[in-house]
């Protein structure tokens, strides 16, 4: 089959590799019909995530048709059309039983590596380094899905791939970020980053009852979509005299009730601390560029919540923890418990409450995935979301 492989920093290529097959009795094999490039794939592309190996197959946003299944999969049939959560979960451990699927205790065969770095291991993730299991991803013609009986959700034929593909990651990720804010009627939520997760965070915040959602970015194309599609109130930081002052001004002097960092480890801020991060990272003295996170803490209202769907990988420098403590902030974060949210969000799509396909800006055949990565990375041609068709 054809699959997109990571071949080093800023280098991916489509190769012919062997087809996947059933390895464990709860596996299924999916023929991929649609797959997308995630913003977090760019962290891999940039070499920001450790424990990648040349030849690893990328992709954690994908859907398709079940073409084979293991002996212990009884809830799916060959031919079922399914979407696959990016986090691999066993459904049986304490964490899965509590709905914390991304903390699954049993799906990461490389758990020792994650434990050494983080103290404990989270769930395995498709195509996301050997810290998270080294599983072959879904930017491919076929993919093996471990624990397929827990990690595959049937979708109705009446909904196109474009409508349901983002149930695999970015819609639930944006939704969980908003839910983590504990939004109350009348709340104002600020979202850093108008990328795909940011767009879904804005829409989810409204679904959960926010009065105002302000979105902070400097990309005019993305801010336009944030305004027109997601109904966010835009704040272009490149044109602002100061994001924190402006947020205070727009919120009656109090700051947003909740702040969502949908940027993560590769912030492109223009403030002094952001420049400092870039220099430190360039000389290998830092792992992440957390300027959006710092700003979110500084801007947040007293007693408010900072919710972090943006991915971080290492040790963050110069985080204003005194401010967080002084204002009594709550911080919530982590990989998304996709299996928990997916059924509810599928219902929202079916009801027409939200149309995830509105953020798709580009389509490429899988064979041209390397070109698509480059375009997405450079944000050329107003690129917000790329869908690949195997």
């Amino acid at each position: 089959m054809k699959a997109l492989c990571w071949c080093g920093k800023n280098s991916v290529q489509v190769e012919t590799v062997p087809d996947p097959h059933i390895i464990n009795p709860r596996d299924i094999i999916v023929k991929v019909t649609s797959t997308a490039i995630c913003g977090s794939d760019l962290h891999l592309y940039h070499g920001m995530i450790p424990a990648m190996e040349k030849g690893d197959i990328l992709g954690h946003e994908f859907m398709g048709v079940v073409v084979d299944k293991g002996a212990r999969v009884s809830n799916l049939n060959i031919g079922d059309r399914v979407v696959i959560p990016f986090t691999i979960a066993c459904g049986a451990c304490e964490y899965c039983a509590d709905g914390k699927f991304s903390a699954c205790d049993n799906s990461n065969p490389d758990a020792d590596k994650a434990e050494a770095l983080y103290g404990h291991s989270g769930a395995g993730i498709f195509g996301y380094s050997h810290l998270f299991g080294g599983y072959a991803g879904g930017q491919a013609e076929f993919v093996r899905v471990p624990f397929g009986d827990v990690g595959a959700f049937r979708v109705p034929d009446s909904l196109s791939d474009d409508k349901v593909l983002f149930l695999t990651d970015i819609f639930p990720t944006g939704y969980m970020a908003a839910e983590n804010c504990g939004i109350k009627p009348g709340d104002t939520v600020a979202v850093w980053g108008a990328g795909p997760v940011g767009q879904f965070a804005i829409q989810s915040a409204y679904l959960l009852g926010a009065e105002n959602v302000i979105v902070i970015d400097d990309n005019e194309d993305r801010l336009r979509i944030a305004s027109e599609v997601s109904r966010g109130q835009i704040l272009n930081f490149a044109k602002s005299d100061g994001v924190i002052d402006e947020l205070r001004e727009r919120t009656g002097g109090q700051g947003p009730d909740s702040c969502i960092d949908a940027v993560g480890m590769e912030a492109h801020g223009t403030t002094l601390d952001a420049l400092y991060d870039k220099v430190k990272l360039a000389v290998g003295a830092a792992t992440d560029r957390p300027s959006a996170f710092r700003q979110a803490i500084q801007a947040c209202k007293k007693g408010g919540t900072v919710s972090i769907p943006g991915v971080y990988g290492g040790v963050l420098d110069k985080v204003p923890f005194g401010a967080a403590f002084g204002k009594g902030l709550t911080m919530k974060m982590g990989q998304t418990h996709v299996q928990k949210y997916l059924p509810k969000l599928l219902e929202h799509i079916s009801n027409g409450d939200i149309d995830p396909s509105a953020i798709i800006t580009h389509r490429f055949p899988l064979e041209k995935a390397a070109e698509a990565y480059e375009l997405f990375d450079n944000k050329e041609q107003s690129c917000l979301k790329v869908v690949l068709q195997p």
């Binding site: 590799v17 062997p18 464990n24 451990c93």
Partner: protein
């Protein structure tokens, strides 16, 4: 004890031999009732399935026997007298605060009889082997909770222009 090498292991006179072995201890909370886990862990096949590093020390399922059993709190597996490598595994079970969950403390120890395969001691020492033991203990938990052991062995991978 039933006259296996476990007796030797516990003999203070042979403590040096134990020092030359490899061991790993790990405590897990397994999301299953402790009576069920106790019964499952009595199954030699299941025990050997989880302990995949056994291949590395040339032991198979039939080399093991249950040498101590305190129902439903403790099981001790040990390799039989005729094996050259002495392996000794203890599983202790107690109910976890969470309903229907169990705290399982697992330890595995390996040692070699003096004069037998002594040259392999160095091979068995070291972080890598201890890591394997730890992985096996984790495998036991996965097997109990999910019925399988997570793996990526056998999955496709690209070559990025490499010929091998």
């Amino acid at each position: 004890m039933k006259g296996t090498q476990a007796e030797k292991y516990l003999d203070p006179a042979l403590s040096v031999l134990v020092e030359e072995g490899v061991s790993a201890v790990r405590t897990f909370t397994i999301n299953k009732p402790h009576e069920l886990l106790f019964q499952s862990a009595r199954d030699a096949h299941l025990f050997a399935t989880a302990m995949r590093h056994l291949d590395a020390v040339q032991l198979v399922e039939s080399d093991f026997e249950l040498v101590e059993e305190v129902s439903p709190t403790k099981l001790v597996w040990a390799s039989k007298k005729e094996t050259e490598i002495f392996a000794y595994g203890t599983l202790e079970f107690k109910p976890a605060p969470r309903k229907d969950a169990t705290i399982v403390r697992m330890s595995m120890k390996y040692a070699l009889d003096r004069g037998k395969l002594a040259q392999k001691i160095d091979e068995l020492k070291g972080d890598e082997f201890e890591d394997k033991l730890m992985t096996d203990l984790r495998n036991f938990k996965a097997l109990m909770e999910t019925g399988e052991i997570p793996t990526t062995e056998g999955q496709p991978m690209g070559h990025c222009g490499r010929t091998h």
